[in-house]
Symmetry: C2
Subunit: 204 residues, 2 copies
DNA sequence: CTAAATATGGACTGATCATTCCGTAAATGT
DNA sequence: ACATTTACGGAATGATCAGTCCATATTTAG
């Protein structure tokens, strides 16, 4: 196998933005398919999401799946990155549109993410895969650092560095409550936990 | 199949404490084997721990494995319960032997559990399985509630109920940092996060 | 119209999974 | 010694896994 073929395999087949040259056109929307796959991974995790699950949900044949995304692993990484960007955008948006307590609003948003009981996809995947998958660990670490950065900027826009540890504490707190929620601790108890922590942590 | 056979299957085969009646004696120590299995599950998670992994580590044939533990699922639940008991005992011990700051010591212990980078087995398993496995969710919820209880008693032995929310916040904080650690956030940063949170949360 | 290029459907492959089964070994009770 | 009971080693089973392959379909370029 040639070097270029290796590289081609590593980065995945001619995935997106290809020129409208010759050949039969795709019968599906690649970014829609990616979004669908993201939801399957979010709900089931990486290992438990089988190719049948994925292709059925995405409406793709296996040929189209591999032709477009290269491998389950490659698709998963694209989904993770996409999720991270979307989640960070959403968090920033919460910070920007909060009326009086942006930090509190962000903590609430982190502790009760969109998507019901699936929790945060990145935390799920970090827990499942990061110890044995360096790429996932890196994506997860950057995501967490970005969360801390956004919170720190909201705490003190002028000196975000000094607020970094506090921001990290808020983020860890919110992430910890995700485990409570998954284990079935009542939402009311979790709300009280957050309220307690916020009342003490906030400078008021 | 008879009802008794159903029950027998549900609770697992003649597992422990059997009378030394007739028949060939076991060539292995059941509790040692359970402990070994626990470590495999801890390191790999439930799905990723194959029966080859388990039986090889435990030194059992498949016959002995199924004859003793009934199924992978049943063995896993026994391992989870055993882990929970051990972890709670250890936490209580940290609280009892701490010199001046039992709560802080417990938070440190929760945030940096024994077993290196494997994190807390129960948090791992709750994240992986609780959404789709009611039994695991229940074991996890009870474990988390027990942690909160132990912390609350250390905060205020006379009125542990009033300290419950604060205890829950400490526990969530510590559990959240486990995700940071798995994602490869430097230990030094995590220590600063905990120090910051403790200095603010503690009544001093 | 023909050749080249890309996409699709679905059968196929080889590996691995949890679990079962069977022949044999090793103990007890009579 | 012999029947009974339990344990062991390891082959067999059927399901499922990710990934490949090929015949066919649909497009563009000339």
């Amino acid at each position: 196998m040639s070097d270029t073929a290796d590289i081609q395999k590593a980065i995945g087949p001619k995935s997106s933005g290809r020129a409208p040259g010759p050949g039969r056109p795709r019968e599906f929307d690649e970014s829609k398919a990616l979004e669908t796959a993201l939801n399957v991974f979010w709900q089931k995790g990486f290992e438990a999401a089988s190719l049948d699950d994925l292709t059925k949900a995405m409406g793709l044949s296996r040929s189209s799946f591999y032709g477009t995304f290269g491998s389950k692993q490659a698709l998963f990484q694209r989904a993770l990155v996409q999720y991270s960007q979307k989640a960070l955008d959403n968090l920033q948006d919460v910070a920007d549109t909060a009326e009086n307590d942006p930090v509190g609003a962000m903590v609430e948003a982190l502790a009760d993410p969109q998507g019901g009981s699936r929790g945060c996809m990145l935390i799920n995947c970090v827990t499942e895969l990061a110890p044995h998958d360096q790429d996932v660990a890196t994506i997860g670490r950057r995501h967490l650092e970005s969360i801390e950065e956004i919170i720190a900027r909201a705490i003190d826009p002028d000196n975000p560095d000094t607020a970094r540890d506090q921001a990290s504490a808020y983020a860890s707190l919110a992430i910890g409550t995700l485990a409570l929620r998954k284990a079935g601790v009542p939402a009311e108890r979790i709300a009280k936990t957050l309220a307690q922590a916020k009342s003490v942590l906030s400078p008021d």
